[in-house]
């Protein structure tokens, strides 16, 4: 992984930059001791590490603005950070950068049930937002599996999804407004508690911009009333193709489940060994969950089971009560943990058209054999967002590189069949150098033009998203 050379003149000015930051914030909010900056050297993509020059933990939008203004004047790159759970290296620092973390900004600013929104500081974790409105039976819909740890700021920057996004959409569909601090310290309010922009949809392009357009300090989020109940059904098939066809038929029938999860044999075996959820041993499993009252749930499940039966399932288990529902989800929820027990793994995140599912699974099997590395699949089948897990041994020299090469081949396959490189984890540094497989240079140019406008100095979250060769001219011009 190539990263730009640290700027020697910035490194030489470290003491002055740190002193200015301490003066503007407070001494405790600025971390510069190398023993302590190590805590920020990576996110959940631990294969890449680099400690920053310093880290700042402001407590308010004003402090964020002050810190950014200083870094802008000093020409210091800034890496925004939420909880550091990115799987794409989205918050990987450079040696000459200042990490700006929002972890101290965790207040609820306003809750409004009649108008169905909440306004928060973005350091709040995803789950704590739902926690704040549960008293009134409301919830915040996007639910990444990392929701206990990840921050709203990271969710907005990555446009994160979750298991329930088939029905409720991803972050961008549930975000109403943000307070954005630009690199030069300018504070802009975009959107609000009302719907839709009056002019250009700036909110839409800020969401998913991976911390490269500004630091998001506050957010207005749509909240929804909780459904009366939810229940899954587990369906096993003797071929991936059949499971894929069943997914397509359920969707066509006009039933909109909240989730359709897919697991293939390698994944089923690993989960079963780990969690003992009592899964049937077969080639492919679907977990389909629906919501509503008891009667509505029963009605939808009857229809889903009727569709499934046309595909001759080898196993079919409806959850009769909450306990059985929990057991159906148990294996799926422990999938990543189970994989971690038996191997090191790399988690991919490409999306494909649902119709290409059988072809992609078959060709992925071929690639897996060719590279000699196992691949297990567990993913959100309703929207085609795959999470192939490549199993490797980090202690065997050369296996990480082999694993990365296989990962790149699988992602290129996703693009080839009409899909994309990443469905919810983001590009970060991980998929940066694959971008030209999906987009032509002029397509990337149109995206980088957005950054030119928001961050003309190109100081925010350096070396992410765009291949370094594509962004070089702009970075040089900005210096």
């Amino acid at each position: 992984m190539q990263m730009p050379e640290p700027n020697a003149s910035v490194l030489a000015r470290k003491d002055r930059v740190v002193a200015r930051l301490r003066e503007a914030l407070s001494a405790a909010a600025v971390i510069s001791d190398p023993a302590e900056t190590r805590a920020y050297e990576c996110d959940a993509l631990t294969a890449y590490k680099c400690a920053p020059m310093a880290a700042v933990l402001p407590a308010s939008t004003q402090e964020v603005s002050a810190a950014l203004r200083i870094c802008h004047e000093e020409g210091v790159p800034v890496v925004p950070r939420g909880a550091g759970t990115s799987l794409a290296g989205g918050s990987l620092p450079t040696a000459d950068s200042v990490v700006l973390g929002v972890s101290r900004m965790t207040e609820v600013l306003e809750t409004n049930y009649p108008d169905r929104y909440i306004r928060v500081q973005t350091g709040m974790t995803n789950l704590s937002v739902t926690g704040a409105v549960e008293e009134a039976d409301f919830f915040y819909a996007p639910d990444p599996s990392s929701q206990l740890a990840c921050a709203i700021s990271g969710n907005i920057a990555m446009n994160s999804g979750g298991a329930h996004c088939l029905k409720y959409g991803v972050t961008t569909n549930n975000l109403l407004g943000v307070t954005l601090v630009q690199m030069d310290g300018t504070v802009v309010e975009i959107g609000g508690a009302h719907l839709d922009a009056g002019g250009l949809d700036l909110l839409g392009v800020i969401c998913g911009s991976e911390g490269q357009l500004g630091v998001v300090t506050e957010a207005t989020l749509r909240i929804l009333r909780k459904p009366e109940g939810a229940r899954p059904v587990l369906i096993g098939f003797d071929a991936n193709e059949t499971a894929g066809a069943c997914v397509s038929d359920i969707i066509r029938a006009g039933i909109l489940p909240v989730a359709i999860e897919f697991m293939d044999r390698p994944c089923i075996e690993a989960c079963e060994a780990f969690a003992k959820a009592g899964y049937p041993m077969c080639e492919a499993l679907l977990i389909v969950e629906v919501e509503g009252s008891e009667g509505e749930i029963a009605d939808q499940l009857t229809r889903i089971v009727a569709i499934a039966e046309q595909h001759k399932p080898v196993a079919l288990r409806e959850a009769g009560d909450a306990d059985e529902a929990a057991r159906i989800w148990l294996g799926r929820k422990s999938a990543f943990g189970a994989m971690g027990q038996i191997n090191d793994y790399m988690c991919l995140d490409g999306t494909i058209p649902v119709s290409a599912l059988p072809e992609v699974l078959r060709r992925m099997g071929d690639l897996s054999a060719e590279y000699g590395l196992g691949v297990a699949n567990v993913f959100h089948a309703g929207d085609g967002n795959m999470h192939p897990l490549i199993l490797y041994n980090a202690n065997t020299p050369g296996q990480l590189e082999l694993c990365e090469a296989l990962g790149a081949e699988i992602l290129k396959l996703c693009v080839e069949v009409g899909g994309c490189l990443t469905g919810e984890h983001g590009v970060g540094v991980e998929k940066r150098d694959l971008m030209l497989h999906q987009y032509a240079p002029e397509d990337l140019d149109a995206q980088m033009a957005v950054k030119d406008v928001f961050d003309p100095a190109w100081l925010l979250n350096p070396a992410k998203v765009f291949p370094l060769a594509q962004s070089e001219a702009r970075r040089v011009a900005a210096e």
Binding site: P114, G161, G169, G192, L195, G198, Y439, Q447
Partner: protein, 379 residues
Amino acid sequence: MKPGNEAELAELVAGAAGPLRIMGGGTRDVGRPVDGTALSTAGLTGATLYEPGALTLVVRAGTPLAEVETVLAGEGQRLAFEPMDHRALLGTTGAPTIGGAVAANVSGPRRVQAGACRDFLLGVRFVDGQGRVIKNGGRVMKNVTGYDVVKLMAGSWGTLGVLTELSFKVLAIPETEMTLVARGLSDADGVALLSTALGSPFDVTGAAHLGQGVVEGGARTQVRIEGLAASVAYRRDRLTALLPGVEAVEGADSAALWREVRDVDPFAGQPGSVWKVSVRPSDGPVLCARLGTLVTGAIYDWGGGLVWLRGPEAGDGGASRIRAEVATLGGHATLVRGPEALRRQVPVFPPETAGVATLTAGLQAKYDPRGVLNPGLMG
């Protein structure tokens, strides 16, 4: 000029010597009038991909909306964002295009539950102001590969690029729809009823209130539910218990109630300017109370958050007072209908704060450095 394909369109834009007025079906006489050579997208038509089992449709931008809806209905599907037909309101003719609907980010009553046009847009191809063909997004439902320029293009009114191809997430047409109607409520009580309905677990897909004097029979408050027949019946019972005095309207009669709101029908053929205001739902009635006799009718959609106001045609059309009140509440107001002279006199689109205006101008300068695409339309 009416290019027959994307490459021709790109060549025409690249070679443009002066301003271009981008046209879809030309059914809207929109925004601040643009003086320029007309460039029509009507030659770019037809679906290029439709996979009902993946809920995906890819279609060229000049395709008439009616054609898109017919193709989808053939498979029991639809555009869930419910684009409006504004011909009656604006007194125009022609066939609205899918590109025009996206360029305006047009969303109807279902926006409160399903989302806006931009939420269903998965990918775009467009020609920028220098004649370059650009793509962003794709045809899959989850995609965070690079910046979301798709969202930026929706609602950019042709000022950042000429859309040539669009891909959408589509949804099944539900088995049943039903509307629960209450009569004679004040604006505040009507919107409070909508808020109760939207705050229930019963998956309301439309929530509107037509104020006193807008339709015959007094004020009308309406709540829509859609889905499987048994589920709709269940939710009707639960909502009827929750919302005092409502009565159920079914099938085609229910659909007609929502077409009326979607197309702002009650203001068609009536004199006056028409404003589209977006505020917090509970602020809708507050706004109208403050405006008093300046407005002669109000239709609240989106649970109260979208207010269609009929204002004066004379003077500034109500612009300064409406915008001053909206500014104190938070939100924005757009002049959707007004004589050309009025649209030259007052800003049609909501004035932006300094920070946002700088970003908007910067983006327009990047995407259209020569300023040939609908110049001044949004300004």
